[in-house]
């Protein structure tokens, strides 16, 4: 059989009948049409492929969700192993060796697990482990792409995969802030016995928004199970010290007062200031002398914080000092001193009333702003 091949000489002869520009235009038009055809053929192929995959995914997704629904509906009230043995035989009908089906099951199981608590969630978790789906999580934890790694960390927490704690512990030191916070949060959630031991190891700073997230997670731990956060107040990582100061203040760990007093000598002014704040909130009268020592050398912010703390402690021993500071020229110092005097009740108010007539015009305005009653009397 002869193969028909295009006779280029004939085409040549045909084209030569036209001026060269027309011939060129015809050739360009021909190839453009050819390209257009190839493009549309490609689009049609991609569209068909999409429709096929969509139908395939819909079929397997429904089968998987029906099987999981069946499992959940019958799992309640049954002993731990029975429902899983029953459901494993159902999963043999699903070709889990195909990666896209395994990924579909993986995602659905996690979604189901996140929607339920108690017995149902625990059975889903056991099923997850029995099907070996934690291997997918492990792959994600070792993935080079940060987004995938973060997803793996989150899923480790969601499915309570304790065997990955060593991997999570390494990720606590990640250079990436996003990976670090997720790893620290997961460590806190999984490591029930020693939730905060990562504070001993973390070298990178715990950013303020990290601290917010961790504090929110800490709220899920019963207060009596929380550790004494003052054990980390001598950390070389200043952000750890600040984080622990916030926790000590929030959970009112009064036993930390002696260490807070020691922190008044810390080289970092932010730590000094936060220690002053917490001592004030604790109304730690034994800290007054040390607060005044700090006042002598502190910045305006620290001095204002000391005065606020004295206003909370209200021992009555610092009234003269507060009056003297109310006569200063710095607005913040004047304002906080007057508030601190007011907090002392009648003794403080009578001092302000005595001072008011001799006060500077600016100071008078501040007093009037803060103490309407003084002006009225």
């Amino acid at each position: 059989m002869d193969l028909y091949l295009p006779d280029l000489s004939t085409i040549n002869v045909y084209l030569n009948e036209f001026p060269s520009r027309i011939s060129l235009a015809l050739i360009i038009a021909f190839f453009s049409l050819l390209l257009l055809f190839v493009f549309y053929a490609f689009l049609a192929f991609k569209r068909l492929q999409f429709v096929f995959f969509q139908a395939r995914d819909k079929y397997w997704s429904k089968l998987i969700s029906d099987t999981l629904t069946d499992f959940l509906a019958y799992a309640d009230g049954m002993p731990a192993e029975d429902p899983i043995s029953y459901i494993l035989s159902e999963f043999e009908k699903i070709p889990l060796k195909r990666p896209y089906i395994k990924e579909m099951l993986y995602q659905q199981l996690i979604d189901f697990h996140n929607s339920f608590t108690g017995n149902s969630a625990e059975k889903l978790r056991k099923l997850f482990l029995k099907l070996g789906l934690d291997q997918l999580t492990e792959k994600k934890l070792h993935a080079p792409k940060e987004g995938v790694k973060i997803k793996g960390i989150i899923e480790t927490a969601q499915m309570e995969l304790h065997r990955f704690i060593p991997i999570i512990t390494k990720l606590i030191h990640s250079q990436s802030a996003e990976v670090r916070i997720e790893a620290q949060a997961t460590y806190l959630l999984l490591n029930k016995q020693h939730s905060f031991h990562f504070l001993e190891q973390v070298k990178e700073p715990i950013l303020d928004w990290h601290q917010l997230v961790l504090m929110e997670l800490t709220g899920h731990i019963p207060t009596k199970e929380l550790p004494d956060f003052s054990v980390w107040l001598n950390s070389k990582n200043n952000s750890v010290v600040i984080f622990c100061l916030r926790l000590i203040g929030h959970y009112q760990q009064f036993q930390a007062v002696p260490k807070l007093i020691d922190l008044l000598k810390h080289p970092d002014p932010a730590i000094q200031q936060l220690s002053v704040k917490v001592l004030g909130e604790f109304e730690a009268a034994e800290a007054e002398k040390h607060l005044l020592d700090l006042y002598a050398t502190g910045s305006v912010d620290i001095r204002a914080e000391v005065i606020r703390a004295l206003g909370r402690i209200c021992s009555g021993n610092q009234l003269d000092f507060l009056l003297k500071e109310a006569m200063s020229e710095e607005f913040d110092i004047i304002y906080h001193s007057l508030n601190a005097l007011r907090n002392h009740g009648e003794p403080g108010l009578s001092i302000i009333k005595g001072y008011y007539p001799e006060a500077h015009k600016t100071n008078k305005e501040i007093i009037e702003h803060v103490f309407d009653t003084v002006k009225q009397n």
Partner: protein, 127 residues
Amino acid sequence: MNNQPKILIIEDDELVRKVLHFRLQKEGYDVFQAKDGGEALELIAENHFDLLLVDIMLPYVGGLEITQKVKSNPQTKGIPIIVVSANGLENVILEAFALGADDFIAKPFNLPELIIRVKKHLKNIAA
């Protein structure tokens, strides 16, 4: 005639809706589903339900609006409503109670707890 109590699940999450439907059906109830508030109100107008399970966060017509509409209608105000909400939405839950909701259950669900609450409310109606 079907004498099983009729329950309407109003929940936009398909997986959760499916599991609740299956589970409640296994308990012997006649279960209906609605994926949003609009569909729910249509079903409530066409059927008499013995209990409503309402997710607060719904598209289009929210759970609070459904609660308010059901409880302000003399024909439906006697239907017990269990609102479903994620933890942390205390203000919204209080508002639901103020509008007449009868009970609340938190997400993620504890299925046995949900079943007990449903049974309790249906028993109260029967009594």
